[in-house]
Symmetry: C2
Subunit: 182 residues, 2 copies
Amino acid sequence: MELSPTAYVILGMVSREPRSGYEIKALVDGSTRFFWAASYGQIYPELKRLAEAGLVKGLDAPRGERKRTVYAITASGKEALRDWLRQPPSTYETRDEGLLKLFFAGVLPPTEAAAILRSMREHRLGVVERLRAIEPTALEKEDPFPLIVLRGGIEFNEWYAGWCERMEGQLPEPTATKKRSS
Amino acid sequence: MELSPTAYVILGMVSREPRSGYEIKALVDGSTRFFWAASYGQIYPELKRLAEAGLVKGLDAPRGERKRTVYAITASGKEALRDWLRQPPSTYETRDEGLLKLFFAGVLPPTEAAAILRSMREHRLGVVERLRAIEPTALEKEDPFPLIVLRGGIEFNEWYAGWCERMEGQLPEPTATKKRSS
DNA sequence: AGCCTGATATATCGGCCCGATACATTCGCG
DNA sequence: CGCGAATGTATCGGGCCGATATATCAGGCT
């Protein structure tokens, strides 16, 4: 049976303790979101599929009057997760609108490319802040891997911000005196 | 009118000279693919939409007996492209299955995490090679921005490969008893 | 000449996935 | 006590990928 990486995100998130779909979404938003996001529109149907396939098991766990189902990983679910972890990763994609705009910046007057780089840099610094805010939480756990990944994210975004700064500094000079409306 | 970033990729690709859908796809695959991909399933319908909106104009340009349509940007198309370039970028997403596996590597025996990092490093080194192969082409053009972006991609992938190497070297030792962090 | 492969060119389809939204309940706080 | 925020489940439109289908054309090989 072929599962999407998002299915394995879910499997991983319930691998330590049972979780509701809502909790899974919150966990993803607070951790893997930066390199693998997931929406409710995927999570709930995927949980049902995983339950049908016997990789997780749904358990009624109401809080008060509100219905609530938590999903626990099964033995074959754990096996599927480990098998997947042992395969070499294959999906790597990025959608970076900033780089896209920079790529086409030649159609703008020369000075305006700098604004794109500044936006990109600001964005990266913002991400660094958000990641740093998460760090204390990751430090508490005994599993070291989320922390390694998180710190990698911080380093990457700092590197990226630095690159933007450097590129802004060595942008091609606007050639000679060319007056333009301001 | 609201256009997707992919629509602007197309607009950008035809902004210097008219191109067929096939050519646009080839251009994207040889340049923006690494930070903004596009498939035929998007390009052809999007070209029709852009033509209806008057941002590009379709021109018959058969080669021999085979039908062929090239699309040229219009004045309002160029305006739309410039307007978009002046807005701050908003879409930034990444899907990195390697980081995802590393994130969950705690469910594997300790030594196996190194294999994930090695796969990731190999992948990045492969991308570096592919980008370097493109570099000569980008050097020929007079537009400096594609080259800036390309070199940024090379630097990034080298940085990433180095990070994988460093992390592999400081992976938690498999030996001894479990320790509590604090 | 005929054949095969690969490039050119357009189009479609299943399925993944996002963002937004809807709705109901329950908790925390002033 | 009341109200907004958080919890919990679910759905829908649309973007987008990857694979595939069809057809023509150019080149090299036999």
